[in-house]
């Protein structure tokens, strides 16, 4: 269940993989956006209190969006532009890939 839904009718969209499942996002979206739109319920677990976390600020301030992108761990997903074929891995269960309006 995603807090956001995408409207992909206008403009180009590209495909990335979130935990192996294909997600389509517009060009210009970040890797964290793709994770949010994949329907995932959480993307990370706090190493301190093991609470589930997900992207919060989407602008590089909160560091909740840490994820593995193209094999590189602990990247701020909101600061990385999604490109075609990108593989994104994070914790959490994948919901329905690609929640659309």
């Amino acid at each position: 269940m995603s807090i956001f839904k995408a409207q992909l009718s206008s403009g180009e969209s590209i495909a990335v993989k979130v935990n192996g499942a294909e997600v389509r996002v517009p060009l210009g979206a970040s890797a964290a956006s793709a994770v949010l739109l994949s329907g995932i319920s959480f993307s990370r677990t706090s190493p301190v209190d093991h609470s589930p976390r997900a992207p919060y600020c989407m602008m590089g301030v909160c560091f909740e969006c840490l994820m593995t992108i193209n094999g590189v761990r602990e990247r701020q997903g909101c600061m990385v532009s999604a490109v075609s074929g990108m593989t994104i891995e994070c914790e959490g269960t994948s919901g329905d890939a690609n929640e659309r309006v």
């Binding site: 269940m1 995603s2 807090i3 956001f4 839904k5 995408a6 409207q7 992909l8 206008s10 403009g11 996002v25 517009p26 060009l27 210009g28 979206a29 970040s30 956006s33 949010l36 739109l37 319920s41 959480f42 993307s43 706090s46 301190v48 209190d49 609470s51 589930p52 976390r53 997900a54 992207p55 919060y56 600020c57 989407m58 602008m59 590089g60 301030v61 909160c62 560091f63 909740e64 840490l66 602990e74 909101c78 600061m79 532009s81 959490g92 929640e99 309006v101």
Partner: protein, 464 residues
């Protein structure tokens, strides 16, 4: 040997305007931007939205960025995107990371134009998946063409929350409702600044227009909310709020928090600029004069990172800074510099006329400055407000003392999210102004840099 005259960190209205002005006077300019394209946050992804034809739906304020971005692209500034300035030295050296490689650029002057960030709004349950910010929703709107899903509520107060809801409804989308935490008695305090509000009548009328559009849309609006809590197991499930002393609850799938914006001071503090407490806005800001000169000779500040004033003011301050640096380096090519700057300052003062009225009206409720004991205020290290109060009572007199004791501020975000909360809590327990307490000591790198990257930087430098 300096590689450029002016290095600007940030490519929003302030950074772009400074680059345009400095270039017009023949300075060599480098702009370092952590985004992939110009615009900062307010004009984020504007070129792509122009091409996609989505501009009209994003509001007039957003569209104002088109001409600035165009002028910036044509200015001849050396634009380094997808890059982070992770350390700035007061002598004008900047360490910049671009896609895994770091380099040093030395400048005569550095302008910090790092903009603003959402005021961290600690409420019970705010770390739950499904809680985000209005700012993050705007970023989803501008970059991912994405909109809130089924049962998502805006919780908080401030012009940005209203503006976002307005653009959503204009685009034919909906929000479940707006739980508004604007403090009722602030209207009385704000009314004292009625003259400023009238001078800024354009802003007032715009705001009234947005509010009536929202009312007309039938959006659920719960006003005068005193306290909020978010509940759920593993994700947002319910929102609780207190209004006129009575608690109510509603099911929800998502929450977009907003309690105004504050200067993003991370880099300025790490560089060593002195900061002061703005008691009306409830935030730290760099000490600066009207030109933007900080406490360090070679460092200037402009835009929201200097003090919250909005996009128009940011652009004016950026222009002033660009001309001022040109005057210092090339006085002969800036004959009417003083006049230009004076005119720009006049315009900035006019744009700022309504500021205090808005700041007082939308000042966050006491609960934000002083969260309940069981509320997490450091998200990274899961430290509660109560733990901070206890640490101060048991002897930690400073924010850094609290940091050493509890680890708040030591997590990945390096104190960006908890800094204001901890300063305000120390201030509250010690009964002194946050001005006497100051922000966390922040040490570079202000974003993580890998060892291999640092080694590469050292190798390049020793090879010079």
């Amino acid at each position: 040997m300096k590689e450029c005259d002016l290095l600007i960190v940030g490519c929003g209205p302030a950074g772009m305007s400074a680059a345009i002005a400095a270039r017009r006077h023949g300075l060599s300019v480098v702009v370092v931007d952590d985004q992939p394209a110009p615009g900062g946050q307010i004009y984020r992804n504007i070129e792509a939205n122009q091409i996609a034809g989505t501009l009209p739906t994003l509001g007039e304020d957003y569209q104002a960025g088109v001409s600035i971005v165009r002028e910036f692209r044509a200015s001849g500034a050396n634009y380094i995107q997808n890059s982070t300035a992770w350390q700035i030295n007061p002598n004008g050296d900047a360490y910049i990371s671009t896609l895994g490689t770091s380099r040093k650029i030395s400048a005569e002057y550095i302008l910090l134009a790092t903009g603003s960030m959402e005021r961290p709004a600690p409420v019970g349950g705010w770390t739950l998946p499904g809680v985000m910010t209005v700012g993050s929703a705007q970023i989803m709107q501008k970059t991912a063409n994405a909109f809130p899903g089924e049962n998502v509520w805006i919780v908080g107060c401030g012009p940005l929350a209203i503006y976002y809801a307005y653009t959503l409804i204009k685009q034919g989308h909906r929000i479940a409702g707006f739980i508004e935490t604007t403090v009722a008695k602030n209207k009385i305090g704000a009314a004292r600044y009625w003259q400023g509000a009238l001078l800024g009548h354009n802003y007032l009328l715009k705001g009234i227009g947005y509010l009536s559009r929202l009312k007309f849309s039938g959006m659920v609006h719960i006003a005068n909310v005193e306290s909020v809590e978010i509940l759920g197991t593993g994700k947002v499930e319910r929102i609780r709020w207190r209004r006129k002393g009575v608690w109510q609850e509603i099911a929800a799938d998502g929450v977009l928090l907003h309690e105004g914006v504050v200067p993003h001071t991370q880099l300025a503090i790490a560089t060593g600029c002195s900061h002061e407490w703005n008691s009306i806005q409830g935030c730290f800001q760099p000490k600066s004069d009207k030109l933007g000169q900080s406490s360090l000779d070679r460092i200037l500040v402009a835009g929201d990172c200097r003090a919250i004033g909005g996009a128009k003011v940011a652009a004016l301050q950026g222009s002033i800074a660009g001309i001022e640096v040109a005057r210092r380096l090339r006085a002969e090519s800036v004959p009417s510099g003083e006049k230009e700057i004076s005119a720009l300052m006049g315009s900035a003062d006019r744009e700022l006329a309504i500021r205090t009225f808005l700041d007082v009206l939308y000042g966050p409720r006491d609960e934000i400055r002083s969260p309940p004991d069981n509320c997490v205020i450091c998200r990274c290290e899961a430290v509660t407000a109560g733990a901070v109060r206890e640490a101060v009572r048991s002897g930690c007199q400073t924010v850094d003392g609290v940091k050493s004791q509890l680890r708040c501020g030591m997590g990945p975000c390096q104190g960006r999210m908890c800094g204001l909360s901890v300063a305000q809590l120390v201030s509250e327990v010690r009964q002194v102004s946050p001005d006497g307490i100051g922000p966390y000591r922040i040490r570079p790198p202000i974003k993580p840099v890998g060892f291999r990257e640092l080694a590469g930087l050292a190798a390049t430098q020793s090879g010079q």
